[in-house]
Amino acid sequence: MDAEALFRIWRRILREDALQQAVFAPDFRERADELGLSPEELELAAEFRAHADLAHWALDGYRYRLVSATVSRVRANAPMVVSVLHAHGHALRTVAERFQAAIGWRDDGLNFHRTTCDFLNHVRDDAAFAGIPGLADAVALEHASNQLLRRVAGLPPQAWVAPPTPPLLDHEARYECAPGAIAVTLEHVLTPWIEDPAQAGAAAVEPGRQHILVYLTSLAMWPGYVGLTPAGKSIFDRLQEGPLSLVEVTALLGSSQAEARARSLLIRFLNLGVIRPHDAAGRREREGAVFELQYGAHWNEAAKVRPIESNACVDAIIDSVVKECGDLAGKRVLDVGTGSGLTVLSLARQGAHALGVDISEHAIEAARAHVQALNEEAARRCSFQVMDATRLDLADDSFDVVACIKTLWCFPDVVAVLREFHRVLRKGGRLVIQLWTDLERCSMLLCGHAVVRRFAPSMGLPRDRISPFLITPESFGRQLEEAGFSGPFAPPVLHAPVFDVTGPEHYWKLYPALSDTGYYVYALLPADIKAAMNEQWRMETHAWRGPSGAVPLALHWRIYTIEKT
């Protein structure tokens, strides 16, 4: 008897009043149509009839816990509304129970903001609460706050968190709204409640229009509230429709001292982190130039110390990518961020004509020399070129496959790079990308990074580089769509092999496969520091060491395969 099908029907019994009452009644089998049960579902539901005497405890328990959970979610995420209801004599548990009965005893699990938004909608629409001054406004404000958190869920913080220092206002630039803010207009002045949500409802609020900006600038905090003038609100609304420059904001304000006011408004928005420079083409150009200067030099230096040799980790990662490329005989394949060139070689060995590109001149020279020295037939199908992935010097629709391993997170603008991949792929061509999963799951990466960071805290990383672990399946799907690929995308394939690492010396041999930058830092450190790092590595991995003395370390990555349709 299929457990999943049984669980689905049991969940309906937990939630649906009519089904719950009918399933233990003598005429249950005659009521299948009325209850919307198929003959198969009827049989599955009937399985629970044998336990009529004790099942009600499980049913009651579910609903009791669900109401408690709702109370707890709402208390944490809508404290102002909770205080107002309490001040007007409405017990939260009773309201939560009514809400759950109205939505069909739905269990949102740990999706707290969904529960809270729906609860707030219920309070707004329930006639029992009509006439409580300010309640509708408190509902609107806390709804916006929860909506905002739902909006930025899954986005990398770089997409919405304010920069650490306020940027200067660029007179030439146009500015766009970041996703981390929502403006709300209220019909009461809620300032006393915003200042002390726990006392909301006890203090009276006066009628009067008030504009509030709900914004989020850090993962360490909840959304903040700040007042907006009517002009500020109207400019924020216009910014949501599209980017504006200082000159355009000045023209929109159109009154005396408009430029000074426009400047002050834009600087305030910048300081709050709710707008950012737009000017996509110009920004891409500028970031490309910065990338070439800063990052190009970085990767070039890293390539100078990285050995070109295969190991178990490199093989496992490259194999997982090659497998997803399909039949490669005669195919034109591009490998972006090719580094050592070992992927290009593997692709060529499968019959592909493979081009490897990299921003590092040194990497390209070394890869070319390595492959040419091999004296094998596949080497003739390999070629290498120095190239910036944000501006590929390659024709449109010219590749059957684009592969990208251990590289995508290195770019300041991932979407710009994906757009280039989309451009050079032919219709029906395939993009194959490797990304690490969360750092916490990769004990293989975690222990090395922990050691390197202890001895070289910055790890020599360019400051604003995106962390590989911030590209999640959810955020990546959005970036692919923004770059022109059409969803729905197949879920990525997870690879999670465990490698037995015999000791630190073995580990550092594998490390170039895991982190070019980390290995670069390690390679440059003097011998006595390296000896101390070996000791530290032993300590970091002590708890995982098996009886043979080897440490089983897990490496997790996902392979995304996307067709250009």
């Binding site: 399985e47 816990r65 269990d107 949102d108 740990l110 958190l149 869920a153 969360d438 465990v498």
Partner: protein, 314 residues
């Protein structure tokens, strides 16, 4: 390439669950304890929000961490449901949070839930060979993701989920054997099932599960309401549970024994615990558990007593 990690289990000692129903009044940090069991669900940031942890929640545990080991307990991970593992709260939130706590292992529950939390406790696993096969693979993958021993807690349930074809103890033995995972043996759940379910025997259960895979033991109390015995953690620990605890400690070397006190969390008929009526009861049970542990394993065998002895020697 190996797929099952080997773990060394530290011997920690006696602890109590850091339960939100007791936090307002129970003097947790004043107890001479070795461990606090932390509900990961109370730290978790919303799955539909950007926070990994509820802002400030992990930091608030510092006073506890300074006193004793924090052990991660996952209620609502969705470990054994039907969603792809990657979409579960266990993977998206609990695994990194357990690491943040420096937890020596993590415990989970043998119930179904999918993107839901209150289903837990009402939806026990189907004890069938087909489910065993599915869950072995899932548990093994999840332990790999946690990167620490994953210990499954045996459930208390009002009726066995339909479609089962094997006893619970045999199912659990197959699960940990196949997956390379471990057990969080809840003795009060065993006792509760033996009271409510025809044919369910504590001695048979303990004789069938692999006691050498028991990393943690839960003990607690419950109440009779409506002719049924409930695992509500609202009363003192009953005699048969103490007897089983002694038997288990003598048979194997466990990492920790955790006491569960909670009060009204599962049903409106459960007792609400109060400082006036229940403080002494909880402290007495903690003290009894410590004395039993020391009698079986020796007086210097707990995290707190080991430190004291080392200090005395130096």
């Amino acid at each position: 390439v190996r797929f099952i990690a080997m773990f060394q289990i530290p011997q920690i000692g006696i602890g109590i669950q850091y339960n939100s129903k007791l936090i307002p009044w129970f003097p947790f940090v004043e107890q001479p304890l070795d461990a606090f069991e932390i509900f990961l669900d109370n730290l978790t940031g919303a799955l539909d929000g950007p926070h990994l942890a509820f802002p400030g929640a992990v930091e608030a545990l510092e006073p506890l961490r300074a006193r004793a080991t924090l052990i991660a307990h996952s209620n609502y991970g969705g470990d054994f449901g039907f969603l792809p593992l990657e979409q579960t709260a266990a993977v998206r939130r609990h695994a990194p949070l357990a690491r943040m706590l420096d937890s020596p292992w993590v415990t989970d529950h043998c119930f179904y839930s999918d993107d839901s939390s209150s289903d837990i406790w009402s939806s026990p696993l189907q004890l069938s060979r087909a489910e065993l096969k599915r869950l072995v693979a899932r548990a093994r993958a999840l332990q790999d993701i946690y990167g620490m021993p994953l210990c499954h807690e045996n459930a208390a349930y009002y009726f066995p989920f339909p479609g089962g074809d094997m006893p619970e103890a045999e199912f659990l033995a197959g699960l940990v054997d196949g997956a390379g995972t471990y057990l969080n043996l809840d003795l009060h759940n065993v006792y509760t099932n033996s009271v409510n379910l025809p044919g369910y025997r504590c001695d048979e259960f303990l004789a069938t599960i692999p006691l050498d895979r028991v990393v943690e033991v839960h003990i607690g109390g419950g109440s009779y309401v409506g002719g049924v015995y409930h695992d509500w953690h609202d009363s003192k620990i009953p005699g048969p549970v103490w007897e089983m605890l002694e038997q288990v400690l003598q048979a194997t070397r466990v990492g920790a024994v955790i006491l569960e006190f909670q009060g009204r969390a599962h049903h409106e008929s459960a007792r609400v615990l109060t400082p006036e009526e229940d403080l002494e009861m909880i402290i007495a049970d903690l003290s009894r558990a410590g004395a039993l542990w020391d009698r079986v394993y020796g007086p210097g065998s707990r995290r707190s007593t080991r430190t004291t002895q080392a200090d005395q020697e130096t």
